[in-house]
Symmetry: C2
Subunit: 208 residues, 2 copies
């Protein structure tokens, strides 16, 4: 499949568009497009309409930046959630992952990325000002940093911590350590080292 010779320009254009998707090569793109060509026109219309409607009509919650069909998302508009706790995450996907655990009942704040000089993403490219304004309103008592355990995540957490250190808010970060089900033998040394340093009392571990 080196130099693909396409029998149709329309097919070639569509395959090229699919091949721009992350992790989709030309061969996979061709397979997906030929599959769609075999489907009824109405099915393909439903596919393109869904994507079209999403891209044109989707909103970002004015309170947390999460994707939403309404101005305020269903989490931020839920009166039974605890507005004293704010969990800072990188993306919408992280909100979905944490919601999926059923272990958190506070609000979220979606940054939309992490500080990454390598990728040209600075603090100004993230929604950090909105976060600072939110904290300044005074309802939030605790900010939980739930960013990736990477250089970029740590840098971003540190930047936000510095920005907010003059406020009265309390800071925490999600626990890092050996994942449930992981064997010590295969745990990398940095994770294992930190897990020993940051060991927790035995009772609290059991309580999980």
């Amino acid at each position: 499949m080196h130099g693909l010779v396409f029998p149709s320009k329309l097919l070639e254009n569509t395959v090229e568009e699919f091949a721009k998707l992350p992790g989709v090569g030309k061969k996979t793109a061709l397979r997906l497009v030929l599959h769609l060509l075999k489907q009824p026109v109405s099915d393909v219309d439903r596919f393109t309409n869904a994507l079209n409607k999403l891209r044109h009509e989707v909103k970002h919650c004015i309170k947390c930046n999460n994707i939403s069909d309404t101005d305020v998302c269903h989490i931020c508009s839920n009166p039974r959630r605890d507005d004293a706790v704010l969990c800072v995450v990188e993306s919408i996907k992280d909100v979905m992952s944490i919601e999926n655990t059923n272990q958190y009942n506070g609000f979220y704040y979606v940054l939309g990325g992490l500080i990454s000089p390598m990728d040209g993403i600075g603090p100004a490219d993230l929604n950090i000002d909105g976060l600072v304004n939110k904290i300044a309103q005074g309802n939030v008592k605790e900010v939980i940093m739930a960013l990736s355990a990477t250089m970029e995540g740590d840098t971003t957490s540190f930047y936000i911590f510095k920005k907010l250190k003059n406020t009265e808010v309390e800071f925490s970060a999600i626990a890092r350590g050996v994942a449930f089900g992981d064997e010590l033998e295969y745990t990398d040394e940095i994770t294992l080292g930190r897990a020993i340093v940051n060991r927790t009392r035995f009772e609290s571990t059991l309580a999980l």
Copy 2:
């Protein structure tokens, strides 16, 4: 990612449409859709328009059933190709693969599938009548069966052979044997057995 809680119905609909694609699970679908959400609206419009245009406007060549932007495809309308040889393939993808080898200069005939009772596909579901009519016109001297080396491919080849055995056309099938670069040790016994039975003269092998 068991029971995904979507923050938006629009997002959920689009992820569901993507998850219908072959080999795309919910998690991959979400990743693709969130990627598209980050792209400029114009890029996503280009994506949906390409697919939309393809599905609504694509034609099938009236001579060979290949996908085409015109009534007769660029292969069938090429006067420098040999109209005495007709290569019967399952799908458009096979035409592209064979064209890619630069080893074939005749015409094609795309069946659009293989006889497969397990999947409820009978001879009537394929474009076999068109093939029979084409042969009846008398230009074609040789029909090359280039179908998959599977039960379904063999059944289809045999069915077509029976349908055309009263014509003067010559039948051939693409060679089966040990693939170039394959080690004998790892070649399955059926392939190896047939490769011994159907051995070719040493000179002709070298000529390849």
